[in-house]
């Protein structure tokens, strides 16, 4: 291979000497993807990545016209939606893309969990993935305020008040984010900076690590596949076989996004009125809906502690257990493995049930 490129083409030879292309190609060809009935889940990370790329491109384009200022923010989105050529298209791609990305990331999370792909040596791939999900939700939360319409105002208000109820640092963090006692210009400025500068830097670093771990450890093989006699195990090459299928899946994923954007372009509500009443029927984005519904169900006081605080603590413990159980389930104990699976099923069912309940009530 090395010999070929050197003799065959001067340009390739030039690049080969500088970038060791054949080594990279060799790595890509050596990487193999197991073929089994759960192989479809291997595409989830890739789909999330292509949606992320859409977010980056459309986000940069939106920044050209968006004005992070309390009197102009809502008007600038209206202008993007109605006066700028393809403005509605770019903005709808960004809003729909964000939702699809979180949906795919959640699928990626649960497929990883139930295939037990978190087991040694992939613990850090699991943890970095979880942090990436948290970052995605932070992107969603900060981006939601920026159009400054009535729902975005109250969503931010509730979100920050929930944060403020968290013991120890909650109050300080909520104050730093809000930039004062009430949601104001300071909040818009801070959320804007976090959304377009702080979170992207964190995401790049973390995603780099996540992808590096994936390359280092190769594709995870579920137990059922791993225990097959080696003659019965089938693999395909990552490059070119899986890679081209990946591209096909990306095209499909982009098509889903385009269809949604065309059929239901993203709108904008009336401008936020900090002194008006919360609009009837206000609800958070679907990915916060289960938590919203859960907090709604908790009674005002549970013994001596406020219900809200109790609810936050309970959800925190449930989330922590979801992050930590995989570190304990390393495939050595059958009961631990069953416990982890059962817990995942409970969390998934609870999240779906609460979300549906929240959406309907």
């Amino acid at each position: 291979m090395v010999g070929d490129t050197r003799r065959g083409n001067k340009l390739l030879g030039f690049l080969e000497d500088r970038f060791a292309l054949s080594t990279l190609l060799h790595l890509a060809e050596k990487k193999k993807v197991p073929i089994h009935r759960h192989s479809v889940w291997y595409y989830m990370g890739g789909i999330a990545a292509i949606y992320l790329a859409v977010q980056v491109v459309t986000g940069i384009l939106l920044m050209v016209y968006y004005v992070p200022e309390i009197q102009s923010a809502h008007a600038s989105i209206l202008k993007i939606n109605s006066q700028i050529d393809f403005g509605w298209f770019i903005r709808s791609l960004h809003s729909w893309g964000a939702n699809l990305m979180i949906a795919v990331v959640v699928l990626h999370l649960f497929s990883t969990y139930f295939m037990k792909a978190y087991r040694s040596p992939r613990e850090f791939t699991w943890l970095s993935g979880l942090l990436l999900l948290v970052l995605c939700m932070a992107f969603g939360f900060t981006g939601y305020l920026l159009p400054w319409d009535d729902v975005s105002f109250f969503a931010t208000k509730i979100g920050l008040d929930v944060a403020a109820k968290t013991p120890v640092l909650g109050g300080i963090i909520a104050d730093l984010l809000r930039g004062g006692e009430a949601i104001s210009q300071a909040t818009i400025s801070r959320f804007f900076v976090i959304h377009v500068a702080v979170l992207p830097i964190c995401l790049l670093g973390l995603l780099g690590g996540h992808l590096l771990f994936v390359q280092m450890h190769g594709m995870s093989e579920p137990d059922a596949f791993k225990n097959l006699p080696s003659a019965k195990k089938t693999y395909e090459k990552f490059f070119p076989n899986f890679f081209f299928k990946d591209i096909l899946v990306w095209i499909l994923a982009l098509n889903v996004l385009f269809v949604l954007v065309m059929l239901c372009p993203w709108g904008i509500g009336p401008e936020a009125d900090p002194f008006g009443a919360a609009p009837i029927g206000i609800k958070p984005e679907w990915y916060f809906l289960s938590m919203f519904q859960f907090l709604k169900l908790v009674p005002p006081m549970i013994g001596p502690i406020e219900g809200e605080l109790f609810g936050i603590l309970l959800m925190g413990i449930a989330a922590l257990a979801f992050a930590v159980l995989p570190l304990l389930d390393q495939g050595k104990s059958n009961s631990m493995s069953k416990l982890a699976t059962a817990y995942g099923v409970i969390i998934a069912i609870a999240a779906i049930a609460l979300s549906v309940w929240g959406a309907l009530s």
Binding site: I158, G276, A277, I280
Partner: protein
């Protein structure tokens, strides 16, 4: 800190191998006589590691403190002009019985209600649950929060249903010359 602990254990191991070493200053490499606290002699490496750690912490603190102060909202950011003690909301005729009106009272949202039995009450419109802005609902004759469905009594502001843990903060409402005047309770 773990490094320090590890070093100590190593040193202890050495001394257990060679019982004489523990007492002998000459055995170990160049100790400084810094045994102020009576904790045994401090090796140069330990000293340097501790100093480096300390400097790193100090430097981190020195960097983070200005950043924190820069980002921390100032108490004086609360606009002095928005401090209000009393406010004329509207004429009584403009607020028929069985209706309410949200208005701005200084820097907080507020609500005045003309109840079906003809009383006028005012409250800060901040839900005690998670701070949403509440409104009067004629169909329930109650103050209601759209965010999580909390309800308050329209006469007293007492939390009667849903998640709110406390009653609404009251304001004083009076009718002066046919106008509704709201002031701090």
């Amino acid at each position: 800190m773990e490094d320090n602990a590890a070093t100590k254990i190593e040193e202890e191991d050495k001394s257990s191998e060679n019982p004489a070493a523990g007492d002998s200053h000459a055995e170990t490499d160049s100790h400084w006589d810094l045994d102020i606290l009576g904790e045994g002699q401090v090796g140069r490496g330990t000293m340097m590691r501790t100093a480096m750690g300390g400097i790193a912490l100090l430097w981190g603190g020195m960097t983070l403190y200005p950043i924190y102060s820069y980002l921390k909202p100032k108490a004086s950011d609360k606009d002095e002009q928005t401090k209000v003690t009393s406010l004329e909301v509207c004429k009584v005729d403009e607020l028929p019985k069985g209706s309410g009106r949200n208005f701005r009272f200084g820097s907080t949202p507020a609500l005045v209600i003309h109840t079906p039995d003809g009383e006028i009450h005012a409250f800060k419109a901040i839900c005690t649950h998670l701070g949403c802005t509440v409104q009067y609902r004629n169909d329930k004759d109650a103050i209601w929060c759209a965010c999580h469905g909390g309800q308050y009594d329209s006469h007293t502001g007492k939390n009667v249903a849903g998640p709110p843990p406390k009653p609404l903060a009251p304001l004083k409402a009076e009718v002066v010359n046919g106008k509704i005047v709201v002031s701090q309770a």
